[in-house]
């Protein structure tokens, strides 16, 4: 076996220069510079204060109105939970069916994949026309938004279950239900979890975007309201809260993944 001990960098002709700052330090320095700029630029009027509120002001204003934010965030969270149930539940079941039943997979799956490319945001006015601008339109739209990625990921997971597992299970006398529960589901798990991750992120985006466009409550609505009134600091604080929300969802999925992965030894596949 040829020895690849010679550093690839040497052979490729790249010379290693000694950098002044280590890469992590560079990253932190840039982050620090951005935060500093965020604070100073509006104060020094390098950027109009309408466009960017100083970091400190964003924080203090937001905290001062924390009850308003919390109330609206709760509305969003509520819509989100229902949207998640619709997207993940619906997408999961549909994905399982489409992935495992060959005629469906061959015909419907490509159609679903093509629909995924459609900018679903354009469909939102239909929801408001049908159910108004209350929470229904939010969780229905969010549900739709997260449905397709969940479906596609679940179908992909089921599709790529190693046929050998199935053959082995059948040779041991497994019934169809047992095959689904004990072979297909566990083997598809990494893809399904990936689908949960993307699907829930999309569902959240769907809900917030819907609130931004036409709503009476919710964090998206609050951001829009503040924007029209040029309350720049509140706008940034609202955006920050949405990011925190998205981060929380992602963290929750990671927790789920870790739990699920505890009894599933294989490496998590990414879509």
């Amino acid at each position: 076996m040829s020895e690849h001990c010679v550093t690839e960098a040497e052979v490729a002709g790249r010379r290693r220069r000694g950098p002044l700052l280590g890469p992590v330090v560079l990253r932190l320095a840039c982050l620090g510079a951005i935060l500093l700029y965020w604070e100073l630029a509006p104060r020094m009027e390098w950027i109009s204060p309408v466009m960017l509120a100083p970091l400190s002001e964003t924080v203090t204003t937001g905290l001062a109105e924390i009850d308003v934010f919390a109330r609206n965030l709760a509305v969003t969270a509520g819509s989100l939970l229902i949207a998640l149930a619709l997207a993940l539940g619906g997408g999961g079941v549909a994905g399982l069916m489409l992935g495992s039943i060959r005629p469906l997979r061959v015909t419907l799956l490509p159609i679903m994949s093509s629909i995924y490319a459609v900018p679903l945001v354009i469909v939102y006015p239909v929801f408001t026309a049908w159910v108004g601008i209350g929470v229904e339109s939010k969780f229905l739209f969010g549900g739709l938004y997260g449905f397709f990625p969940m479906l596609l990921a679940t179908a992909a997971g089921v599709q790529t279950v190693d046929a050998r597992y199935l053959v082995a299970a059948r040779s041991m006398g497994a019934t169809r239900t047992q095959m689904i529960l004990h072979v297909m589901l566990p083997a598809s798990l990494p893809s399904i979890i990936s689908g949960v991750r993307i699907g829930s992120a999309m569902a959240a985006i769907g809900v917030v975007v819907a609130e931004m466009m036409a709503a009476t409550a919710g964090i998206g609505f609050l951001i829009t309201q503040n924007r029209t009134m040029f309350n720049t600091a509140e706008v940034y604080f609202g955006v920050f809260l949405v990011i925190v929300l998205a981060g929380t969802i992602d963290w929750a999925v990671s927790m789920l993944e870790r739990r699920a992965g505890a009894w599933y030894p294989q490496k998590v596949r990414t879509l």
């Binding site: 040829s2 550093t7 052979v11």
Partner: protein, 271 residues
Amino acid sequence: MARLSVVGADRDTASVGADLRVESVTHVFETAGGSLMALKDVSFAVEAGTFVGLVGPSGCGKSSLLLMMAGLLQPSEGQIAVGGNIINEPKPEEIGVVFQELSLLPWKTARENVEFPLYLRGVDRLMREKAALEMLDLVGLGDFADRRPHELSGGMKQRVAIARGFCQDPEILLMDEPFAALDEQTRMTLGDELLHIWDRHKKTVVFVTHSLTEAVYLCDKVIVMSARPGRILKEINIALPRPRTYEMMATETFGRLRADIWSLIRGSDRK
């Protein structure tokens, strides 16, 4: 078969019929765990027109040595010279290389891969194609010129790599375990073909291998190296007549030569 004079135009004439000399080469390289001495004061000569083997235990010496002969790596101390000229950069017209991992470009056809060195040098298209097709015919793959690597078997890919190495009609051919990934039958067949080509074109070949049988069968001389740090243990002349035949593998001479090499290697391994 006539020599490919079309592509040999601007060759350094000093290297025609010249010896390759490795002179007091020592090489140390840095890893995360400290510095490693790969080679220690290695010196030997490869006479023009001979087929020389390089064997030794797994470690980092042999391949590094080959990279140095190819001009891709500079030794920490010492030098490598061909016909008096020190090698400090690749000289593709005089020194051809066949790597173990082949590195056939997957997006090019067999013919385009073989003519790649000529393309890099700016040789015009018609001449390149002609030269490449001649080479492919030589290795028996004339009908596969327009196939891509993923359509070829392991042995065929190997032949394409060899054709590419020969394409510029270099004086010296360096081969780094070119047959390592092949099954034994293919190895033997390709070995014979290689000898056939070598015999007709009288090149200098430096052949790194782990297979002692291969070394004894193919070479005029086998250079045996020790474990790290690599040193020359002994240069063994293979006094078997040419052309080599399979029957020779059953002779006592063959067996003794193999055994000698093996005991040298094993002796050095015992630390």
